[in-house]
């Protein structure tokens, strides 16, 4: 059996006196899609921000490929091949697609200046694969449509050989056609052996895509279940009631 791509063990984080995440464990195998579900404020985004380096856990351990991983910043996380597509997309609206795609990882000329042409050319290459209709490479991303902005955020995550991909509500702002495009992309990335965390508050977004579903409530893990063992209603029950249908344990 191969080692999990990611193991999060007994992760907790406190903000002031509030335990936003309380003793949560979760793992992810290569080529696996794990849906992370829960109401707003359940702690899913906080948990995932610990993995992506935006927050640091108060206690607990993260392992990547079986080795302990020391993740103190988003830069560290990227070194471990962990890429994140944030719900807010985290794009600098005043900068063009290529600038955003390479933000923090710019390609440089031998003279130490930004290599705009090479970045634009590579961006065109990635976007060709993701969204062939995408042509506005030199306009600030502010003036792009929701789907196009999403494409830029996704391109940024997959262009740097991500092994672990975190997608926070990836289809929240998209129309049906674009949602289908993202679903196809998730299947394609999964086939390439990339592990994906799919975060959502809506079971319908993830049921068809996720191999397993992890449900959180009030900062605690309700349970991690194989998606095909349960119906949508069962998982919805976990989200609402906080009751694990296998063990019967209840999170309040």
């Amino acid at each position: 059996m191969t080692a999990p791509l990611v193991e999060m063990r007994d992760i907790s984080i406190q903000f002031g006196g509030v335990r936003a995440v309380d003793g949560v464990s979760l793992d992810l195998m290569p080529g696996e899609v794990v849906g992370l579900l829960g109401h707003n404020g359940a702690g899913k985004s906080t948990l995932i921000k610990i993995l992506s380096g935006a927050y640091q856990a108060s206690s607990g351990e993260i392992r990547v490929n079986g080795e302990p991983a020391d993740i103190r910043s988003t830069r560290d996380a990227k070194k471990y091949g962990i890429e994140t597509i944030y719900q807010t997309l985290a794009l600098a609206d005043n900068i063009d697609a290529a600038g955003n795609l390479f933000l923090g990882r710019e390609l440089m000329t031998p003279w130490g200046t930004l290599d705009e042409e090479r970045m634009a050319a590579e961006t065109r290459g990635v976007m060709q694969r993701l969204n062939p209709n995408f042509r506005n490479l030199t306009t600030p991303v502010r003036s792009l449509s929701g789907g196009q902005r999403q494409s830029v955020a996704i391109a940024r995550a997959i262009h740097f050989n991500a092994r672990i991909l975190i997608m926070d509500e990836p289809t929240a702002a998209l129309g049906p056609a674009e949602t289908r495009m993202v679903a196809d992309l998730i299947r394609q990335l999964k086939a390439e052996g990339i592990g994906i965390f799919l975060i959502s508050h809506d079971i319908h977004d993830v049921y068809d895509l996720a191999d397993r579903c992890a449900v959180m409530k009030n900062g605690k893990m309700v349970g991690v279940v194989r998606t095909k063992d349960l119906s949508k209603d069962d998982i919805l029950g976990m989200i609402i009631m906080g009751k694990n249908p296998v063990t019967g344990a209840v999170v309040y």
């Binding site: 910043s73 600098a92 600038g99 933000l103 200046t113």
Partner: protein, 409 residues
Amino acid sequence: MTATSPATATTRPTARGVLDALDLDTRMLAMVGALGVIWVVFDLVTGGVFLTPRNLWNLAVQTSSVATMATGMVLVIVARYIDLSVGALLGLTGMVMAVIQARWLPGMGDISWIAALVGGALLAGAVGGLQGWWIAYRGVPAFIVTLAGLLIYRGLAWWMTSGQTVAPLNPSFEVIGGGLDGSIGAFWSWVLGIAAVLALVARAVHARRRRRQFGCLTRPLWAEAAVLLVQVVPVIAFVMVMNAYLQPRTGIPMGIPVPVLIVIAVTLVMTVVATRTRFGRYVFAIGGNPEAAELSGINVKRITVWIFVVMGLLVAVGAAIATARLKAGLNATGELDELRVIAAAVIGGTSLAGGVGTIFGAVLGALTMQSLQSGMVLLGLPSPMQNVVIGAVLVFAVWLDQSYRRGKL
């Protein structure tokens, strides 16, 4: 790539098509146009005194100090900060430069003015860094930190000499301020002008080749030539005007003043910094979306400190120009310059909401403000009334800019 060259090259040129093919910054063109209108109107009202080589030469020199600092203010404002301390810091730095050469190292020849420049730059850079540190690592808003700076540095500038004026300065230092001996003469002006034209041509050729190489769209050739012409003609006109101003008694052409050369150099360097370096890219990213910048792994705090260090260094350059022009260190030098510098950046299209601004725009903004001021001086308008006009123009210019942006989006 010839198959995919823009369709505008083959279709009949419509007005829209021509504009698209030229791919110009229409906003910048509008600013240049507005400046042209101001110049022509003042020339008409003053009976032809405004557009003379002498007035334009003086205008260029008078703009230098504020224009230099405005290039730094662009970065500050783009990153969503503000710096109210630049005028006071200019006063303190200029005072320190004067004291070093006139009191500490008099009669030391070139060492005294070089020491003054280095000392002033170190001081202003360090002060800027300290302000940046308070803002980035201690979380005090930039408005407050630099407002405190305004009070502190102006006070210290007075304290240095208990308000006494410091003179005389080293003659080599005074060259920085442009005076009668502060120009490079006709020959070197032409050498620089021709070098600039060659550089512009080389840049256009190089850029076109790179864009071709990576399969980006290129302008049609005629448009490329037209754009190049728009850049080359002002350069030549500028050299001709500067050379047309003759030294009063001797009749020798003045040529480009040293402070103006400094502004040109600063503008070039800062444009490269803002648009072609990681640092510049991060400054704009912070201004566009601070959270996204942080999540991309950008060290926002460290960049913030460096923004204020750069601002401080540019204040030192401005202080050298202003002090050398006055030929003395005064504690009141640069009073209200913070407002002129901020206004220049804003008139030049820098958005106070952050994320938007150009270095060249800020320099044009400074030139616009100084043109208004000079014109009103020529008309004999009292100084308080000049401020009334400039205040009104500031509001009008920002309103115009925002309307333009909204119309475009």
